[in-house]
Symmetry: D3
Subunit: 293 residues, 6 copies
C-alpha cells in the first residue's frame, strides 16, 4: 500500500473517531483543559517517599551532603506540583466546580501545606508499621531490607499519605496514589479506610481493603485477604453507607480469607484462618478455620 493511500485511510479513520468522540456518552465527557495529570501525581508520590524515608529512595539528580537543604528543595518541588494538581482537581471536581481559578489555587495551596504538615504524624505511624514487619517476619534481616524490598510497607506508606489527603477532602488524587501502590504491589487499600498502628501486611498480593473498613492496632493480614462489601448491587445508593468490616486490635487474618459486610466485626485477639469466608461478626479471641477434607 503506498504512503498516499495509508494517509487517506488514516484520515478517514480519524474522522470516524472524531464523530465518535462527539457522542453524548459517559466515555465522551472529557474536559481536556482541566484534567489532572496522572503522571505528575505518581511523580509527587515518589518524591513523598523520599521525604518519608530520607536516603532510601535516592535522588538521582543531586548528591546529598546536606540533608536539610536537599529536603527543602525537594519540598518546594512537591509543593509546586501538588498545588497545581490539587487546583486542577478542584476546578474539575463537581464539589468545587463553582470556584474560579484563583479561588481554587488558594484553596490548593492551603491543602497542600496542611498535608505536608501531617508528614511527621505519618512517619510516627510508619515507624510502628516497620517494627511490626520486623517483629512479624523471621525472613526480615533488617529494617533496611523491609524499606527496600517489602511490598506491604510500600503499600501502607502510600496509603497513609493518601489517607491524609482524603481526610483533607482532596478528591481523586488519593485514589490515584493508592491505585499506583496497587499496581506496584497488588495491594489495594482504599484511601478512605481507617487503619491503626503496628499494621503488618505479609506478601500482600491480592489484598483488598474497602473504603469504610476500620482496622485497629497490631493487626496482621496476609496475601489475598479481602476486607470487602457483602454486595454492591445497590450501587450508587450505597454511597456513604458503611459497607466494609471492622477489625479490632491484635487480629491476624491468614491468606485468602474474606471478611465482608459493614456490620461484620472481628473481635479483638481473633485469628481468622486462611481461605475462610466470613460474613458475620465473630466474638473476641475467636479461632476460625475450615477443615480440610
Amino acid at each position: 500500500m503506498d504512503g498516499k493511500k495509508i494517509e487517506q485511510e488514516i484520515l478517514e479513520i480519524t474522522e470516524e473517531l472524531i464523530k465518535d468522540y462527539k457522542s453524548d456518552r459517559a466515555i465522551d465527557k472529557m474536559d481536556t483543559f482541566h484534567q489532572p495529570n496522572k503522571d505528575s501525581i505518581i511523580d509527587i508520590t515518589k518524591k513523598l517517599l523520599r521525604i518519608v524515608y530520607p536516603g532510601y529512595y535516592r535522588d538521582h539528580v543531586y548528591k546529598v551532603y546536606n540533608v536539610e537543604t536537599n529536603l527543602n528543595t525537594l519540598m518546594e518541588d512537591v509543593v509546586y506540583n501538588l498545588n497545581k494538581q490539587i487546583a486542577l482537581i478542584l476546578c474539575y471536581s463537581a464539589d468545587y466546580c463553582g470556584c474560579c481559578d484563583d479561588e481554587c489555587a488558594t484553596k490548593a495551596e492551603e491543602l497542600s501545606l496542611a498535608f505536608l504538615k501531617r508528614i511527621p504524624k505519618v512517619r510516627a505511624l510508619l515507624d510502628t508499621d516497620l517494627q511490626a514487619a520486623y517483629d512479624g517476619d523471621p525472613a526480615a534481616t533488617s529494617i533496611d531490607e523491609i524499606i527496600f524490598a517489602y511490598p506491604g510497607i510500600l503499600a501502607i506508606t502510600i496509603y497513609r499519605l493518601a489517607h491524609e489527603l482524603y481526610d483533607l477532602g482532596v478528591p481523586i488524587i488519593p485514589r490515584i496514589m493508592t491505585e499506583h501502590a496497587h499496581s506496584l504491589t497488588g495491594i489495594d487499600i482504599h484511601p478512605g479506610a481507617t487503619i491503626g498502628e503496628y499494621f503488618f501486611i505479609d506478601h500482600g498480593t491480592g489484598i483488598v481493603v474497602g473504603e469504610t473498613t476500620v482496622i485497629g492496632k497490631n493487626v496482621k493480614i496476609y496475601q489475598g485477604v479481602t476486607l470487602g462489601a457483602l454486595s454492591t448491587r445497590g450501587g450508587q445508593n450505597l454511597r456513604g453507607v458503611r459497607r466494609h468490616p471492622t477489625i479490632e486490635d491484635n487480629v491476624t487474618i491468614y491468606s485468602n480469607a474474606s471478611v465482608l459486610g459493614g456490620d461484620t466485626v472481628i473481635g479483638h485477639d481473633s485469628i481468622i484462618g486462611g481461605s475462610t469466608f466470613i460474613t458475620e461478626s465473630v466474638p473476641p479471641e475467636s479461632r476460625i478455620y475450615y477443615d480440610v477434607k
Copy 2:
C-alpha cells in the same frame, strides 16, 4: 583484583556463554533479526489508550488545542509502529513464515488499518463497561475517577483492544498487550476470551480469565476469581479445545471463587459466593455459597 584480570575473567565467562547459546535447546532458538520489540508494543498500547480516552492519558509532547489534528498525528504514529511490529511478527510466526518481507509488510498494513477501524466499536463497548463500574461501585465518585484510577477498567480496555487483534489473527502481540495489563493490574484476561457488554471487575488483582471463556452481558466479578481450565496436564493436545467456562448474563462472582472447565456453565442471574470452587454447571438464578464453620 586489577582491571586486566577482570577483563580476562569476563572474556572467559563470555566465551562460556557463547558456547552455551549454541546448544540446540528451546531456550537457544533466537532469531535476533526478526523478533518483535516488546517495548514498542507496550508503547503502542499506551498510545491506543490515548486514542480511546482522548485527554485522560496525556500526551506530554504536544499541548492540545485541536483534538482532530492531535488525534491524526497520534494515529499515524500508531499505524507506523504497529505496521512494523505486525510485519516482524508475521515473518517470525510459524503460520506465516512462507511470506517474504514485502508480503508481510502489505499484510501488516491491512491488519493494522482493519484494527484501527474497529476502535469505535471498542469504545461503544467500553462506554457500557464504564457505566457498569459507576453503577456498581458506591465508592466511585465520577466516571473520571474510574478512568484515572480503576484497574478493572484499564484491564478491560486493553483486553478489548487486544481481542480485536486476536480476532484478526495477529499472533503474539495481543498476548503481550494483555500481559502488560496483567503486570499493571494483576488482572489476567486472555485476548481470546469473549466478553459481553456492561462487564465490571471490582479491585481485580488475581483475576484469571482463560482463552476459551465466554462471558455474557452485565457480569460482575471480584478480585481473585478464576475462570479457568479443569486440568491442562493434557498440554498441547488440548490446543483449540474448549477448556474454560461459560458465564451467562447478569451473573455476579464474588472474590476468590474458581469456576473451572469447558463444560461448566453458570446460568444467567446466578450469584457465586466468594472462595467457592465450581467445576460443574449450575442452573440459572442459583445462589452458591460455602458455610463458615
Copy 3:
C-alpha cells in the same frame, strides 16, 4: 498566598521534619552514604535478562550484528555495576560491617564474577522450565510467546538468578530482585526457596513461595497458591527455622490453594485442588479437593 509566605511555611515544615528525622526510631536509622541503589539493582536485573535470553530483551542502544561482542560489552556493564552495589551492601550489612572499603570491593568482585559463572547452569534449568510451560499450556503457541508474555517464566527466571546470589551469601540484593519480579508479575518467590527443574507457574498472580520452601521436579502451580508458614507470630525467634512446606516431584497445586508449615510434605505425584487449605502432610499420589455445597 504569596511566594514569600509559602517559602516561609515550607521552611518551617522542613525544620519540623529535620527534627523528626533525628528521633532514634527504626525509621530514622538511615546511612545516606552507604545505601545500595535500588534502581541500579533493577537495571542490573534487566540486563541479566538480556544475557539469559539473548535477543528477547532488546538492547535499544546498539544494533547487534555480532552477539559475542555485544554480550561481552553487556557483561562488563553488569560486572561494573554489580561490583558497586555488592560492595555497598557489604559495607552496609551487619554481617560484613567490619570490612573496610577495599576489602568489600575485592570481596564484591569475587562474588559478582562467581555469580556470572553460574549463568549457564541457570540457563540449563530455565530451558526445562520453558519446556514445562510449553507442554503444560495449550494456549502457548511457541517458546517465543512464553518468553515474551508469560509472567510465570519471568518470575522464575529472576528467582533462579537471585537464588544464586542468595546462595553466595549476598544480602538484600536478591530480595530486591525477586520483589521487582513480584511487582511485575504478582508472583512472590523468596530467593531462599529451593526449586527443582521443569517448574511451571500458570498465570501466577498471588503466588507466594516462602524462604524455606523446597520444591521437587516437574511441579506445576497455579495463581493464588501459597506455600507459606503456619504462623509467624514467633517472629525473629523463628529466623533460620524451617517454616515452609516441601513439595515433592510431579505435584500439581491448583489455584488459590494454601499449603502451610515447615513439617508439611506434599507427597510426589499428588494433585491439590483449588482453594484447599493444607496444614498437614499428605501421602504420595493423593487427590485433595473440597466439595462444593
Copy 4:
C-alpha cells in the same frame, strides 16, 4: 576531608554568596519569577525552522504521512510556548511593566499569532536567499545541501524570523534568537537590521551586521565582514540613532572588510575588496581594494 567538614564549608560559602546576592549592583537585580526561559526560546526557534523548511528539520517524535496535521500540531506547540515566553517578557520588560498578568497574556497571544501569519512572507524571502546561495556558490550541489549544511542560510533564516518579532515590538526574544544563530554559525545579525531579497552570505564566520544597518537586494557578503558603528563610546546616548551603514543593491563585500558608520553608503553595484576598512561613502559601481606590498 570528611563529609561533615565539606558540608560545613559549603554552607559557609553559600551564606557568603547569599549575602553577595543582596548587594544592590547591576548583577544582583534578578526577578526569579518573571524571567523568560532561554532554553524554551531556543526550542521554539528550532520548531520554527521545521515550519519554514518542512521535512528538512526532522521531527523525531512523529513519523509524517500527513504534512497538514503534523504542521498543525507543531503550530499549536509553538503558539503555546511562544505565548508563554512573550507574556513573561512583557511582564518583565520596562516598556510594558504596567500591565497585569492577564493583559500581558492577551497581548502575547495577539503578538504570537500575528508573528505566525508572517511566516509565508518570510518563506518567500528565503526562497530568494536560497536561489542566491545556489547561484552564487559553485560548490553547492543542490538546494537541499544548502538547507542542510550552509551556515549562511541558517543565520539568515533565523534573522528573518527574529526580525518579524522585532518589528512587532517583542523585546529580548529576537535577540536571544539571533544570538542562538550566532552561536551556531559565527554570524551575528542584529534582528533590527533591514535586509532585502536575494541575500547571500558565504562561509560567514565573523560577520557582524549592526542594529540600524540597511541592506538592499542581491547583496553578497563573505566571512569576517563587519557592517558596524564607527564608535560607540557615546554609549546609551546613541540609542535609536542611526549608527550602521547602508549597503545598496547588487553590492559584493569580500572577506574581513569593515564598513562602518551611520552615514556611510556603499553605492549600488559596488565591489568592496577583502580586508578593506571603509568609513566613508563610496559611489555606485565602485571597486575598492588594498594593494599588497
Copy 5:
C-alpha cells in the same frame, strides 16, 4: 482570547502555510520520505571521534574494561547508521537517482565499509597533526590537552574523516560533517580540500579553506585566514573549476590573511603576515607583511 478562537486562528494559519508549501519554488521541493537525517549524521560523527581517539570521547553508556569489544560494538553501531544515511542520500541525490532502494542499500554498505577501512590511514595523519600542534604551541602542556581542548585539532579530525567520504563520492554527508565542525569551532574546511601532514591551526575561529584548495606538509595557519576564491559571481558555471589557492610545504599564514584565487601559489617556506590580502602567487621563501602607518 479563548481556546476555541486560538484553535481557529491556528487552523487558518496552517491552511495558509499548506498552500504556501505547494508553490513550485526552490524552498518547496521537499521529499519528506527520502531525506537524510542531519542529527543522525552528527551522531555518527561523534562516534567516529570515539573510534579515532579511543578513551578521549567517553562512551556514557558502557564502562570500558575491554577496548576490543567496546570498539567492535561501536563500529557496528556506526556501520548500521552510516549504511542507512548513505542509502538515503544515494536515493535522494541526483547522481544516483536511478537506483532502486536495494541497489542503494548495497552500494551504501560497500561505501561505509570502505570508509571505515581508511580510518587507520586517517589516524596516521592525525598523529602528525597532533605533533605539529604540540610542537607549535608553547601553551600546550600535553597531547591530551590538545585532544581535549583545541578547536583546531577537532576541525582537522572531522575534515580528515569527511574528506575520505568525499573522496569515495558520498554526496552531502561530508559537508554536513564539516559544517558541524564549523559550528563547534568556527573553522570551515570544505571536505574537498587536499591537506598534507603536520597541519596546524592555531585558535582557528574564522578560518575558511575552500573546496579546491591544496595544502602541502607542515603548514601552519592562524585564526581568520581565508584560503578562498577570487570571485564566485560566475556561480554554477564554475563548478569543478579550480578556484582556490595552492599552499606549498612549510608555509605559515598569520591571522586574518586572505589568499585568494585558483592560480595563486604560495611558494614553500614562505611566511604570510597577518591581515594581508594576497591574490597573486608569491615565490618560495617569501616574507609578506603590511606596514603599519
Copy 6:
C-alpha cells in the same frame, strides 16, 4: 551484503584498528581509566553560570521559591563533581603524577572549595563588565538582555571563572572551560590571561586573547581582534616566556585588529583602528588607523 559478511568485515576492521591503537605514537597514549570527562566539566561550567547569575540560567529540575536552599543544593552538586574531575586530572597530569588516589582526592577537595570561595570576587568583577557592556552598547536595552543574549559577557564570565582555577594551578580543566566558551561564542580567551575590570567585548566572534596577555581596566575590544604572539615557531622552547601584548587602561581596539608580541605595549587611552596590524608598542593616547586607498 548479508549480515554475516558485514559482521566478518567489521571484525577485521576492528582487529586492524586495535593493532593501530597499539602503535607507540602520540595519538595512541591513552589512559582510559584516569581521563577527565569533558562532558562533566561542561556541565559544571553550566552550573557555575547558574551560581553566578542566580535565576538567569534556569534550573529545569527544581522550581525555586527559596534561593538559599536551591543554591546550597547546586553548590553541593558542583563540589561533588568538581572534586571528582580535579582528582582525575591531578592523577592524570604529569605535574602531580606521583600522588596516590587518596592524596589527589584530598588535594582536589581543597582546590574546589578554594575555587568556590572566590566566586564573590568574580561576581564583583563581572558586575563591572556588565556595566561596561550596558554603557558601551546603545543597542542594549537592559542588563537582563546582556546576560541573556550577549556572547561577550558569556565568554568573559567563563574566562573569569576558569582563570581562578588556572590561578590555583588546576591543569587542563580551565582550558576545557574556555574552549567551551569559544565553541559557543567564537571568543577564545586563554584562562592564563590577566584582564582588569570594566572589560567589554562587542560581538566578539574571532577574538583571540593569548595566554600571557595583560589587559588593564576599562578596555573595549571588537570582533576579530587578536592579542597574540608574533611567532610561535619556537614552539615548546617558549613555554612560560611572555609572548602576548600588554593593553593598558582605557584602550579601544576596533574589529579585526591584530596586536602581537610579548614586548608590545598599547599605551593607555589609545584607540587602535579596525584591521590594523600592530607588532610594536605605541605610546599612550595614540590613534592608529589605516588609510583606505
